[in-house]
């Protein structure tokens, strides 16, 4: 059976068909979770963001422009929810543990452990360092980077999501890459 398009489902959902909205939820949850997890780095937070995204989407369904892509619209809401959460998290971050997030020098490369006996362990360490580097980006940098790098969104789309201009968006992506590079380069060089 041919699957119903997002546009048709959105039309039905707008008319009050809850089952149609349910199908949209079922179709998009996985991808939203991946995005939210990339953004927050926390499984529980990512699940909450998925729920919050659909709640907001349901409330704002009347504002969705049918010509646009529902997926893109949904991902934009999820990115905003994640950004809100990252900002809250940043505000609550214990000052003792706080790192100067605006400084490109802020992310120290994690201390190398004993030389890795095999490649798998080295990859695990690289992964750990990627997570660590992402955690130490500012909310704007992380959002911009995730949307560009993992989601393949254009600078313009990211700017719209962040409510920032093109130059500010480029700067956020650039600063994020710069910080990640500083944190990862020593390890990446060692990876065969």
């Amino acid at each position: 059976m041919m699957e119903e398009s997002d546009a048709a489902l959105v039309t039905r959902a707008r008319e009050g068909d809850q089952d149609a909205f349910g199908v949209l939820v079922e179709n998009h949850s996985q991808a939203l979770f991946r995005l939210a997890f990339r953004m927050t780095g926390n499984e529980h937070d990512a699940e909450d963001i998925v729920q919050e995204t659909f709640l907001r989407a349901h409330r704002q369904l009347g504002r969705f422009e049918s010509r646009a892509s529902f997926r893109t619209w949904l991902h934009r809401i999820a990115a905003n929810c994640s950004l809100d959460l990252l900002r809250k998290r940043q505000r609550h971050r214990d000052e003792d543990d706080a790192v100067d997030l605006e400084s490109a020098e802020a992310i120290p490369a994690m201390q190398s452990r004993a030389p890795a006996p095999d490649q798998e362990l080295l990859h695990a360490e690289v992964h750990q360092q990627v997570v660590y580097a992402l955690e130490h980006l500012t909310p704007m940098e992380r959002t911009a980077f995730v949307l560009r790098h993992f989601e393949g969104r254009s600078i313009e789309e990211i700017g719209t999501t962040l409510g920032a201009g093109s130059n500010a968006t480029k700067q956020s992506i650039f600063r994020a890459v710069q910080k990640i590079r500083r944190a990862l380069e020593p390890m990446v060089k060692a990876t065969p």
């Binding site: 949850s29 991946r34 905003n80 990859h123 790098h149 990862l184």
Partner: protein, 263 residues
Amino acid sequence: MNHPSEEQLVLFHYGEAANHDEVAGHLGACDSCRVHYQALQRVLAAVDSLPALERADNYGQEVWRQLRPRLAERAVHARGRWSEFLRLFRYPRWALAGALGLLLLGSFLVGRFSSREPMSPPVARRLAQPVSPPARERVLLKEISDHLERSQMALIELINSKNNGAVDVSMEQILARELVAINRLFRRAAADAGEPGTASILEELETVLVEVANGPPKLSETEFAALHQRIDSGGLLFKVKVLSAEMREKEQDTARSLARVKS
């Protein structure tokens, strides 16, 4: 071209460099830049190697199972608010309350109100029956506090409707138009009844409601920020909340007095 900056290389990597072909040509010819770019590619490839955390295949169904009751709850709440709000304008209740309010606050509004809202025969019959002053006062207080609560909700909805970019306030606009009409009646009545404090808050509220009602259905971010600022700066939401609570308290006092008289 000159050696591209690190920023240009990042943009080039993502296909966003304005001078893409020039950078590509330069990387083909310049060893040091190529080495630099390859290092950047390795770092970004390492980021890609981070495994994505996947949910089970039935995750979407699970999300919907959890979400469905929450949406149903919200729909009931929203329907309740709308039907309650719309009922106010289907005149039997409004006409009754309005007419009782007029009796209490003096004859100032009688002519205006009764000429605008013809009463249905059952309402007219009910109004013809003797109603005690405390009972009239109670109905009026209830109507005012209900109006203030609805206005409060409208303001909250309004300030929470922010999205990135243009803000669609078309729904809030419909609500504001309805609230303006009632607010105007209450404000004039309060002024005539010698309640300048209440009249002043209602006037402030009316200014914002009129602005929303007559404004564009979509606000730019700057317009939205200015409106938000006007709501915030005078503490309008707080004043409306306090006045609403005062009215509600008075209404409950009156209800208790009526109950004591009956018993």
